[in-house]
Symmetry: C2
Subunit: 333 residues, 2 copies
Amino acid sequence: MAAERRGGVTISQVAEAAGVARSSVSRAYTRPHMLSPETVERIKMAAERLGYVPNHTARALSTGRHGNVALIVPDVANPFFPPMIRAAQVEADRSDFCVFLGNSDEDPEKEDKLLGRFAGQVEGIILASPRLSDERIVAHAALRPLVLINRNVEGIPRVLIDSGTGIGEATAHLAELGHRNIVYVSGPSTSWSNKQRRAAVRKAAGERGLDLSFVSASVPSFEAGLQAVDAILAKGASAAIAFDDVTAQGILAGLAARGIGVPKDFSVVGCDDALGPLTVPALTTVSSRSVEAGKLAVSLLMEMLQSQALRDASYVLETHLIVRGTTGRAPGQ
Amino acid sequence: MAAERRGGVTISQVAEAAGVARSSVSRAYTRPHMLSPETVERIKMAAERLGYVPNHTARALSTGRHGNVALIVPDVANPFFPPMIRAAQVEADRSDFCVFLGNSDEDPEKEDKLLGRFAGQVEGIILASPRLSDERIVAHAALRPLVLINRNVEGIPRVLIDSGTGIGEATAHLAELGHRNIVYVSGPSTSWSNKQRRAAVRKAAGERGLDLSFVSASVPSFEAGLQAVDAILAKGASAAIAFDDVTAQGILAGLAARGIGVPKDFSVVGCDDALGPLTVPALTTVSSRSVEAGKLAVSLLMEMLQSQALRDASYVLETHLIVRGTTGRAPGQ
DNA sequence: CTATTGCGTGCAACCGGTTGCATGTCAACC
DNA sequence: GGTTGACATGCAACCGGTTGCACGCAATAG
């Protein structure tokens, strides 16, 4: 009721109102079993009446526990991340933690700066698809609990999305549909995920004796996909697997512009399931598991915070092909 | 050098090393002009040698300034928000502020809880498309600086995206293409944006003597759009304006399933430009201005923090129609 | 009936800074 | 030469909680 002007009802005010010492008020919240039930009740009543909310900052100062974690991603607006962010947020909430969000703009230096900026006010950090060097990551990890997503650094707890399994399935799927000549449209050369996807498609294509070519879309974007179409067609392929869904959509747009029907004349597979069944025809793609990754990373971090033991854990999430509407039998089959 | 085990070199240690009082060390950082240049130099040297970093939490406790703001959205994964979040993040960073991100899950109660949770550790809050009641919003705004996005509450600084202008243009655009019978597929009835859009389409259709019907997709989603198609066709319309892009994509999928060609046989307009030109055919839609809104909200908040004057500002961002590939001449024209 | 145990509570120090006020020093001024 | 004032620095209280320890009291054991 009586909301003071500074928005600050303090523990002292509650103590006075309840006729107890400040320490008792504190304990009513942090160690209720130390107090008699009636006292706890009385304190909570008074607190309620005054609109008392414990001050996190003050608590953090004396305990060293902030109840905050940081999540740093290269680009919030990249559709791959929002579901992950959301999942992380929800999971953190379950442990009553707040989430700081950082956007590195795909820039290693900015990432480094953010890490330093957050360092003072969080208990742990989650780095998703970092662009930072291994050394810097290791350095930060030494200072405080840190979990990686989609980056494989020995000795640091990490969650890896193995898009390789899904890409393998995609290749097999295309082979079954009778495609003999396919293209992999690759993403950023520094990306761990791209290396993994490229290797997976090569392996699977080799096993099935498919003709495989590569076309590079160095930046994964709609534009890049659009511009890759000529190169793809020049290879004589009847199907393409793209680094991600956005690139795949660019390829689809380019094919449509040339009057090439999908999936009748050409098949396209995306990766990451960033768009869901939203498009027409719905994109055949590889599931991303980004939701699980976000959730798992947070719960991993929570565990690390509880038991200071920072064991070297590496969780791998396998992916699978989601067949929708952009793949079909090879022409002439 | 001597990084203590707890990562914590304190002001006292620096003071002792430099042979000054704690207060002088503090001033060396916050008010250097109060000290003699030599003293400042000596202190900074000592701090450097010990690896001292000011403790954000402690500073916040005594000054009340955390250097943090909170951003609360209904759903991080809704493609409307990520660009806004990113813009807010970038703008906050310019003032060296960190951003807490909250996800209310479209739930008023959770929103209220988050607000309380953040209250203690941020200087200001941005509430985007809140689902909370006006009273609760006013109550929170009384406690600390708060800026609204897409919610019109008298007396509270707000940034409003006026999708009405764009929707009006869309209606005019359809009229010019010869459509005489159109449908507006509405979103959540409690949404301020929905009311605004509905009013705009009614006004514009009235001015041009178009037949207008309403179909309700109470939750804005792909599924809802898909299921609205029968109702839309039953109205005998040749074009639809959807509450948002995701709903529009659902409608497109439904039309495709019935073999109805877009834009040849039917025209569809989305709203919010959440997908960009990504889809095939690319969706004609209304620009969202969500990036500007995020940026503006943060800079507004920063101003409020500087000059405690919380004047009642209301910024309106107009929107415009973006014509792409899902609108064409009415059949038989 | 006294000694022991144990529970509920209060006292006071502490977390790491910030800041109003007091003190000390020295140069300038009358 | 004594007074004034500006300037540099230190002292100590404070921000709002947490927590080790001591105290008082009641129940139990001897």
